[in-house]
Point group: C2
Chain length 581, copies 2
Amino acid sequence: MATVESLTAQIAEQSALLNELRKQQAEGPEVEEVKKRLGDLKRTLGQMSGGSSREGGKKKERILLKTPKGTRDYSPAEMHCREHIERIVKDCFTTYGGSCLDTPVFERKEILAGKYGEDAKLIFDLKDQGGEELALRYDHTVPLARYLAMNGATTQAKLWQVGKVYRRDNPVMSKGRMREFTQADFDIAGVYDTMIPDAEIVGLLCTILTRLEVGEFTIKINHRKILDGIFEVCGVPLDKIRTISSAVDKLDKMPWADVKKEMTEEKGLDGAVADKIGEYVKHKGGPALLEQLSADATLMANASAKLGIEEMGILFQYLEAYGVVDKISFDMSLARGLDYYTGIIYEAITEASAPPGFTAANAFAATPETAPAPAPAPPAKKDKKKKPAGEEEDEEIDESKVGVGSIAAGGRYDGLVGMFTAAAAGEGKKAAQLPCIGVSIGMDRIFAIVWPRWVERGMRSKDTMAYVMAAGDGLLTERLRLVQELRAAGIKTDFMFKRKPKLPAQFTAGERDEVPFAIILGEEEIKAGLVTVKEQRWEVVGGEKRKIENEDKGVKIARSQLIDWIKGTPTYQGWSTGKLI
Amino acid sequence: MATVESLTAQIAEQSALLNELRKQQAEGPEVEEVKKRLGDLKRTLGQMSGGSSREGGKKKERILLKTPKGTRDYSPAEMHCREHIERIVKDCFTTYGGSCLDTPVFERKEILAGKYGEDAKLIFDLKDQGGEELALRYDHTVPLARYLAMNGATTQAKLWQVGKVYRRDNPVMSKGRMREFTQADFDIAGVYDTMIPDAEIVGLLCTILTRLEVGEFTIKINHRKILDGIFEVCGVPLDKIRTISSAVDKLDKMPWADVKKEMTEEKGLDGAVADKIGEYVKHKGGPALLEQLSADATLMANASAKLGIEEMGILFQYLEAYGVVDKISFDMSLARGLDYYTGIIYEAITEASAPPGFTAANAFAATPETAPAPAPAPPAKKDKKKKPAGEEEDEEIDESKVGVGSIAAGGRYDGLVGMFTAAAAGEGKKAAQLPCIGVSIGMDRIFAIVWPRWVERGMRSKDTMAYVMAAGDGLLTERLRLVQELRAAGIKTDFMFKRKPKLPAQFTAGERDEVPFAIILGEEEIKAGLVTVKEQRWEVVGGEKRKIENEDKGVKIARSQLIDWIKGTPTYQGWSTGKLI
C-alpha cells in the first residue's frame, strides 16, 4: 500500500527527525534506530523505482517549479498594495448601495455557451471526470445573469462581485494582461427610469478611479443602438453587423487603414460601406457631438440610432449632476467585443492604456492611402487563425509594444437574463426579462499602474505596529504575555521566535518590517511595572527607504498605560483612520 | 458569419428596442422597420436551426439553470455575513504579524501529484486544450510550499491566504461540505526555536474562533512523531503506517469497533496489533496525559515517540503563556489524513462538528464485542471503492446524519518544501529544506455555524446609512447632487431610480434596506438651505424584524451641517467603529 510519494514523505519525516536529534547532539541507540529506519525506507523506495511495483518503473523526473502560463503569484508586498486597491473598490461599491454576491469559479458549460462571440475559444474547460461538463468562468456578468434568472428575474438590485476570471489568451504579464485575473464588477438589475442606473454606474466608475489615483483617465462612451443604426444606415448586411462591430472596436490600437482592411479583405465588406462607417466612427466629443448627430437626418430616420441619441442626451444631463462630464468622451469608435450589450457601452482608459507610440488621436490622422502613418504601432499579436486547433499558442509578444488596455469596461445588457430564462423555459414559453447594466474593473491592470508608484513612495508591506523585545535572558514567557495583551487590544504586534534572542537581532527583525513601535522588556522594568517604548521612523532617500537615526533612548511607560499610550500617538491614529504610513 | 448565438442576441436586442418604442407609444415607419428586422432575424435563425448551417441542425435544448454539483451561490444577505467572518479572520491574521500571499487557483498537475495520499482522486483536472497539464488547487498548503521553494527556501515568514479550493468529494451542502469551498490559511515558514511557531499558530486559532463566536470549541492536538512511535511500538509494518493512520483518524465519526474492522479486514493488520493501538489512541487529556506517556518505558524507548512527547511538553508550557490551555485536548486518536505532516497536528471542533447522536466520548465506551454500542452513528458515506473509475458518484447522503466536521485543522510539515526543491534540483543534488507549520480555517463550515445565529439576531444585510428622498416633483437633479455629496464624505447612501417617485414608495425602498437615516428634500427646504432627517430604528420581535414606529416627523437641519450631524449621531459612530447594527 506504500506509494513512491508516501515513502518520499516518510523519508523526509525521518530525515527531519534525524536532523533534530543531531541538533540536540543526541547519540546512541535512538539515533541508530532512526538511521536504520531511514535506510530501510530508502531501500524500499529504491526497489519500487526499480520497476517491480505498479507505481514505480518510470525514472523520477525533475519537476518544473513555476505557475501555469499566464498566471502568477503575488508576493506579500504586492498583496499589501492589491489589498489597498481592493479595499477602496469595495468601499466605493458599498457607498453606492451595492450588495455582495458570490458565484462559483466554474459553471456548467451550457451556461457560458454562446455568450462571447469570437472569444468563446478562450474559455478554459474542466476535464470530464464523470458528471457535468464544466468550464471556468470567463467574466462575472454571465454568472450574475444566471443567478438572476435562477432567483426570480423581477428583482431590483445593485450587486457586486470581486473575484478571479479566466481566459486562455496570450498573456502580457507586465501589463496585467493575464490568463487568470481579478475583476471587480458592479451591476444594477431591474426596470428603472431611463438612464438613471446608467448614470449611476458611470458616476461610480469615476469615483473609484479618482480614489485609486490611477492618474488622468477618460471614460469613453458609446451606444450600441447608435452603432447599430450607423451600420444599418451605411448598408452593412444583417449577418455581418457583429463582426464589423468587432473590427471597429480595434480602433484604439490599430489605425483606421488596418481596420478597414480587416473589414473588406478579411470580412468581405464592400469598400464604400467601410468608408461610410469610417466617416461616422472617427468622431468623438461631448454634448456638441450629440447635437451634430441629432442634425443628421439620415441617421435620425433610423429608429435605433434615434433612440440611442436621445438616451445619450438624457445620460449627459444626469452626468452633469454627478459632476463627471469632464471625464467623459462620447467616442463613436467604441464598440466592445461582447455579443450581449444592448445599450450604452463604456471603457475607462488612462495614458498607460494605449500601446506606446500609438494615440487614438492619430488613428485617423493619416492613412497609408494618403501619407505614411505617423508611427502607428504594429498589431501586437500575430494572426491567431493560422494556428492548428488544440495547439497551445506560444508566440512571443513584444511587451514594450503593448499597452495596459482599458482598465474598466462595461455596458447595458438588457437581453442576457432573458436568454437564460427563455432557454430554461423551453421553446415558445414566455420568459421573464430583466434589464441590467454593469461595469467590470480590471484589478490587475489597475495594479500594474498603481504598484510602481507605491514602490516609489516607499510604502510599507505590512501593518504591524509593535515589536516586543527583551533585553537580558530572553524573557520568552513575559514577551508572549505582553504580545497577547497588545494583540487583544487590536494592536498588530510581533516578536522574535527565539528563546534567548540578542537585543540587536530583535531590533533588526522589527526594522525589517518597519514597525513604528519598539517595545523593550527588561528584568528591572518588569519588577517596576514599566516598559520602554521607542518610536521609529523611516524616510525615502534617493529611492531607498531608510530608518531615521536618532539619539532617542525611548520612554519608560507604566505597563498598565502602554495600550492607551500607543493608541494616543499621532502615528497610531494616522494608521487607524486609514492614512497609510 | 452569424451564429445561432449572435442571432439570438440580436433578436433579444431588437425585441428590447421594440418594447421601448412601445413604452414610448411610438408609431409609424420606425416601429414597422424594427418589426421587419425582427422578423428577418427570426427567419434567418429558423433557417439555421433547420439544418442548412454548421451551427444549426440540432434542436435547441432546454438548459438547466443551476450551479455545478457541490457548489453554490451566496446571496447578498449571506455574503454580508461571510464578509464579516472574513474581515475578522484577516484582522487576526495581520494582528499576528501575517502577510498576505496569493497564488493561482490552478497549478501544474505535477505540483499537486503525490501530496494527498488516498485523496488524490478528488483533484479536479482541467481539460487538455494544448499546453500544460493543469489541476485546480486542493488546498493552500501545497501551492504555498511551491511558492516558498521557488522563492528561496531560506525565508522566515508568516504568510496567509484566503481563497477557494476544490475537491471532487460527495458534498453535504447544509453542513458546509462542498466541492468548492473557501479556506483561510496562516502558515509560518522558517527555522525557529522549537515549538514557538507551533504555539503561535494554536494561539492564533483560539483567538480567531473566540472572536468569531462559534460557541464552545476544542482544539484537539496530537503529534505525528508520537503516533508514528506508537505504530512502531505496537508492531505496524513499515508500509502500512500511513493507511493505519488514516483509519485511526476516523475515530471522530466512527466507533472503535468499526475502525478496528477497517484495520484488520480491509487493511490486513493483525488483530493483536490493532488492539495495542486501540489501548493508546483512546487517551485524551492535557499535561497529565503527557506525564503518563513519559512514564511509559516502552514508548520512551522509541526515539520518535520520545521526541514528540518532549515537544508536546514544551508546547503546553508556551500555550499556558498564550492563555489557551483550557481550549486544548491532547487527543491521541487524532491522525489527519494528509501525507505531508511531520510534527504536531491539530483540529478545531465545536458541538456541531460530530454527527448528531455520536460523541467522541462514547466511541470507546462500548464495542460490539462487549455490549451494544450506545447509538453510534452509522458511517455517513458508503464505501466509495466499489464505484467504477471515472464514473460520477451520485449517491444520496443523509444530511441529518452528518456533522459539520472540524472547522479548522493543520499541522507541521517540515518536509514539503524540501520535496519541491529536491524534485526541482534533480536526483542526488542537495536541496534546501524549509520547516513549516500552518492552519486552514474552513470558512464555509464556520459560516454554517454563524449564519443561523446571524439570522436569528436580525442582522442587516447591507450597510447603507442614508436614503435620500424628495417630496413633490421628484427633484432628481437635487437628489443626485446630495447623494454624491454624502457619498464623497464616506456616508453610504442610496436613492430611488425614478424621476418622480412618490414619497411613500421612497420610504418603503429605504426601509427595505433598513437604512437608519431618511433624508427628505423639498422645494421650500431647498430654498431655505435645509433638509429633513428622520432616524429610523428596527427591532426583532418573535423572530421577525420590524420598524419601530414613532410619531417623529424628523428634524430640519442646515444642508451645510448635514454630514457633520449624521457623523455625530451614536448610530453612525457605532457603525463606523465596527459595532454591527
